[in-house]
């Protein structure tokens, strides 16, 4: 029997791992943005191949790949795999590629158990319930305009609106104002210009409207950097509350298991799961790489128990610690 290939294809970076059917990770590699929906199939396939080639090189084995899983956002709506199978053939990986949910991969990065929950807050935010190893129901992940409550975009939007409101005399004083203006290189100018607004507000408008909306997520870290501030505290409390609601929407007293947390924003906020039914413990993971490996094992017919999971986790950590990037 051959080896397995797992890919965690994200909107910013992509990670690939080659592993044995015993769960021993042999090679690890990274690439750039690998989601075909956000980056286009040409760019995404190139970056996935970069990651996979590096992982195969590190593995240094001539054993073929039996089964491949690629975890990505939108795996259930974007079901075509032609974009990646044809590219992978060129690096010696033949046969079908199974697409899986990035949220399910996050869950499996932190849990070998068949039941539980995953919640992620990075640029976006979403939660899922996992039952019998499958994604059963999802909540949020609806994008910046319709949802993503408590996400990086959501926080960044609240930050810029709070600062604009203070400069505008509508909102209360906040230490976020000098922090955001400083980040954007805008001098604090209280003088009212001819249009009836302070100069610094005019410059803030110019700076923010020159961004794509989703780029407001880059201001999310300010809310954690600002220190003790009543406006920032209200924003982070609202975000924690929104994420608890999102988890609550998928939680069920009938499905018991761990909650696996992912994403930089959730890591900074900390999850509030108090009183949410079904939750047995809270775990955190860096990304969905180990979970994609678990899904590849299952796809290849291997039962992933606690021991196999521990082997995947330990051998993957060792490879990543090598600094093989």
């Amino acid at each position: 029997m051959g080896n397995l290939l797992a890919v965690d294809a994200g909107g910013t970076s992509t990670r690939a791992v080659v592993l044995t059917r015993e769960g021993e990770c042999l090679g690890f590699g990274v690439g750039g943005a690998g989601n075909p929906i956000s980056s286009g199939t040409e760019h995404a396939s190139r970056e996935v191949v970069t990651a996979v080639s590096a992982a195969l090189d590190r593995a240094g084995t001539h054993q073929g790949i039996d089964a491949a899983v690629l975890a990505m956002a939108g795996s259930r709506t974007y079901v075509s795999t032609e974009w990646i199978t044809s590219a992978l053939i060129r690096v010696g990986v033949e046969g079908p590629v199974e697409l899986e949910s990035d949220l399910l991969a996050t869950f499996c990065s932190g849990a070998w158990e068949p039941d539980g929950y995953a919640i992620v807050a990075g640029t976006g935010a979403a939660a899922i319930r996992v039952h019998d190893g499958r994604l059963e129901v999802a909540s949020d992940g609806l994008g910046w305009l319709l949802g993503d409550a408590g996400s990086g975009f959501w926080l960044g939007r609240r930050v810029v609106r709070a600062v604009a409101a203070e400069l505008d005399a509508r909102g209360q004083h906040t230490a976020l104002t000098p922090l955001l203006l400083g980040t954007l290189g805008i001098a604090s100018e209280a003088e009212i210009t001819e249009d009836g607004r302070p100069e610094s507000l005019r410059q803030l408008l110019d700076a923010v409207y020159s961004l794509r909306p989703i780029e407001l997520a880059t201001f999310a870290p300010l809310v954690f950097a600002v220190g003790d501030d009543v406006v920032a505290r209200s924003i982070t409390l609202d975000a924690r509350s929104a994420l608890k609601t999102t988890l609550g929407a998928v939680a069920s007293a009938d499905v018991h298991g761990p909650v696996v947390c992912g994403g930089g924003v959730l890591s900074a906020l900390g999850l509030d799961s108090e009183g949410v039914p079904g939750v047995t413990d809270v775990r955190s993971v860096a990304d969905g790489t180990a979970g994609a490996a678990v899904l590849a094992l299952r796809y290849g017919g291997v039962t992933v128990d606690e021991d196999v999971f521990a082997r995947v986790d330990a051998t993957l950590r060792a490879l990543r610690a090598e600094g093989v990037r």
Copy 2:
């Protein structure tokens, strides 16, 4: 001495009026979107000329135009007038065109007094304080991403997010859901699809993300059409409160005068000005046309007192009632 020309150049439609120095409106005409910032100078100048030509035709006088005022959003940041002066020459209007704030024109549509306030909530939302006939300070009007609290966009965004949250099991039940889905021609499908979400939510995502963000303002009327609904009531209460805050940001106990209200959203919500300092009474206007005429008179050196104002208002109403569109 010749006549005067006033133009209220809006993002959706444009109105022009030709009037005598006594404040008698002789001709009125309309055109399409006339704001050079949102529509581009070529389109805007064509629509302004359409409105002006119709007004000149209706006036039927060969008397020249002495002074022209064009009221528009962004008049203080977009100070060039070349785009419109060259086009107006072709219909016989020579000489400079003075740009004025659309918010000041709204104020002057409802008040001949030198001091007071204007507040507008349509697609956007903003308030100004007027002192000695001049815009002294403004609040909000910061656009859909940074401000416009209580505006049509703001309401529409709240509507679609509330509906998405209900379909997602994160939000409470609201009668807005069948109303919005019906508006978009989406059947109510509670069945969970393979990505863990109900089919109707998937279709809502597709429909909303195919719009430009600002087009969410088209859903604002649903919040008034829905009848008694706790979610809709919470949205409208928040909007009224936000608009009161915006008015409060420009209000001053030292500046006494009327508040002139404009925009369809504010008209539907009703202004809450209770306890706001400086406000003597609340008036409503349809648009800034009469105010642009008042500003043209002042620009032409005419003092606009209560009598002149009443003449502008009455003769303009008569022309508009003719249905000369």
